[in-house]
Symmetry: C2
Subunit: 213 residues, 2 copies
């Protein structure tokens, strides 16, 4: 259970993963590392109920990638990008049709940062951006027209945040899917620190996901 | 490997699953069974190349469901539905915004049919409908406005049909995700009989998916 606990904590050295959590400032001082930025787009959804009874509370976006794995939109920052956030916005434009009508992603939205040495020296930055439900729905539409639709992005999906009565349907089953890199940990971390799922529910769902198959 | 072979064959009794393959006619003569209809919407895509070099060849649609599992659009046929295909079309209208501009789904599109006794007496009908790429892209857009969007349907995704050089990215990793009921078998069956993936490639991807995690 130590590993599960570390995954939910999203801090310090994550045993076995080769990932270390550092600050954004420390990451920017590293030399010879590639930087990848990904973002969890989310919106409050206080009114929707599945089957008229399960409250959804929040909409959280991930995507099915070209390689058959789930992940967050984003990607590597190019050397010509002015900032991490500029690089992220460029990726979002290509992947989900991120528009200039939206409030820009800034340093304020930076949530966590992890560094690894193998197989290559790399820093993964994780952002979270709160939108209105209307804006988030707009992203789902614009994503179907984006440059990378049907190529790098096979489709946007919302994350079920509830656990059904059978104890596995919903978040536990979703977590048992195949995720790229540390995106599953990033999802859990984001849900926890933004309080989108209650901590005990998140713990239960993470534990239940290990027994889903 | 016997199980894998049966899964790809999609015929006869599938050992261990409790599913029997029967004809549509035999299924309609059964009494006291629920009928579920699902469809694989697909379209030729001869021009698109991932990273400018991996040909996509076909677009095939599945969806992320409310319960965190992948599946095909469709659902249970209601007693008031005039036919299986009427019931399927009603479900598609709610789930993906299926429009009257599209060629209707008919008996001709029925691909396979399986019956099971436990946990309930049920017949699963599997259809495949070829669209133009433009029509399929239209479904991806209309799905974001459909009644069940964000509720029963968390998003439409295209299935990567290729296998990347690492031997796991693409179809193998996709197949290692979590699927509802017999939808993974239905996907493999559909890809095989419609020749959307070459049989040896399909076999390799299915085998590779077992070692992806």
């Amino acid at each position: 259970m130590a590993e599960l606990s570390e995954e939910l904590a999203g801090g310090g050295k994550v045993e076995g993963s080769g990932l270390r959590t550092i600050t954004r400032e420390a990451a920017l001082e590293l030399r010879g590392y590639k930087h990848a930025c990904h973002v969890m787009l989310h919106a409050p959804d206080p009114d929707s109920k599945l089957f008229g009874r399960i409250p959804l509370r929040h909409a959280v976006l991930m995507m099915m990638r070209f390689d058959g794995r789930l992940g967050f939109p984003g990607g590597f920052v190019d050397p010509e990008d002015v900032s991490l956030e500029d690089g992220l916005t460029r990726e979002l434009t290509e992947e989900v049709g991120w528009g200039e009508n939206l409030c820009p992603i800034t340093e304020e939205d930076h949530l966590s940062c992890q560094v690894r040495e193998h197989p290559q020296k790399m820093v993964t930055h994780f952002y979270a951006k709160q939108l209105t439900l209307e804006e988030l729905s707009g992203i789902e539409v614009s994503a179907t027209h984006a440059k990378e639709h049907g190529l790098e992005v096979m489709g946007m999906v919302r994350v079920p945040l509830f656990t059904m009565r059978d104890g596995s349907g919903g978040l536990p089953a979703f977590l048992s899917n195949h995720f790229i890199g540390n995106s599953r940990s990033q999802l859990l971390y984001g849900l926890r620190v933004l309080k989108l799922v209650r901590e005990d529910k998140l713990w239960e769902a993470t534990r239940a996901s290990q027994g889903v198959r």
